[in-house]
Symmetry: C2
Subunit: 207 residues, 2 copies
Amino acid sequence: MKRKGLLLVISGFAGTGKGTIVQELLKKYDNYALSVSATTRDPRPGEENGIHYFFKSREEFQQMIRENALVEYAEYVGNFYGTPRAYVQEQMDAGKDVILEIEIQGALKIKEQFPEALLIFVAPPDARTLEARLTGRGTETAEVIKKRLSRAVEESEFMSRYDYVIVNDDLDICVEQTHHLIQSEHFSTLRSREFIETLQKDLKIFE
Amino acid sequence: MKRKGLLLVISGFAGTGKGTIVQELLKKYDNYALSVSATTRDPRPGEENGIHYFFKSREEFQQMIRENALVEYAEYVGNFYGTPRAYVQEQMDAGKDVILEIEIQGALKIKEQFPEALLIFVAPPDARTLEARLTGRGTETAEVIKKRLSRAVEESEFMSRYDYVIVNDDLDICVEQTHHLIQSEHFSTLRSREFIETLQKDLKIFE
């Protein structure tokens, strides 16, 4: 049975380590592919075109929208962000589980369009741990940290719209759990329709 | 976070090895407990009361029904079979994932009563493999095998009512997949409501 790839959406509050989890999944296992987003925002130092983002002009981005070349897109703090459709489709057809690391707004749009997409939310063990992690980074001002925490409050209202909530307490355990969870989803009846229908049909020789 | 046990239902056609999978899960991992069914049928050679079944008289069984002491029950070829409620509840409260190895009829009743129950169907890789396994046992007459296969045809219509379909091709791989699948389900949002609500509430300190 040829296995088709899953469409995975991974979201989470700032400071929960979802980026690290995604990087570890890509490093440790060979069944994943990361979707690279298109954006109209300017590259930050060290960011490369085609690796971190596809950097597009506003005109180019709007053309992609018109051509239905984006699976989803959203405007966020004045810039557009979107998921190019071609790469996602190619990778899934090749059997890869494609990871989209996107915001909640985009995640819910994906679920509407692709009910079979798997939505995973990365959560901290508790509220104080989240605060400690954001503070511990030492890279953001108190004001930015406050903003991120109050954003987490808003975002937390959408957690139950996801399929799974993974708690990132120990990174290695969390990565392994996430991997097992994703691989298990290949056996859900929702995603096994082809196998079920073939078996039902073939069994009829014994009727 | 104290983990509550899951209610697991494992079904499958005769000859798919579901009994062996259940035995391996119990042997290899310590988080499972097997629910012992009550029945009015006579014990077969080697079957022990309280281990393989709770053997009950028809009167005793009917009293259990009246006292709501059964999670589900069904009549099958003239005998009653049912799942005693007390043991299931105790084990789940103690954090054990309780396995019910029951027929489709009972499985669907469980899902009605406990929407959070996890229904797993064990399938053969294909129809011919199922036939070969039933024939290979060498313990049943051609007539019995024919009956089992035609029963599989009927049962296959209900496969998509289950949550997952596990293919038993290689036993060890199948047991490991089943275990990972079950453990992953602890992270489903449906089964993480308590954690989600606590986190949402605690985050409000940052509002």
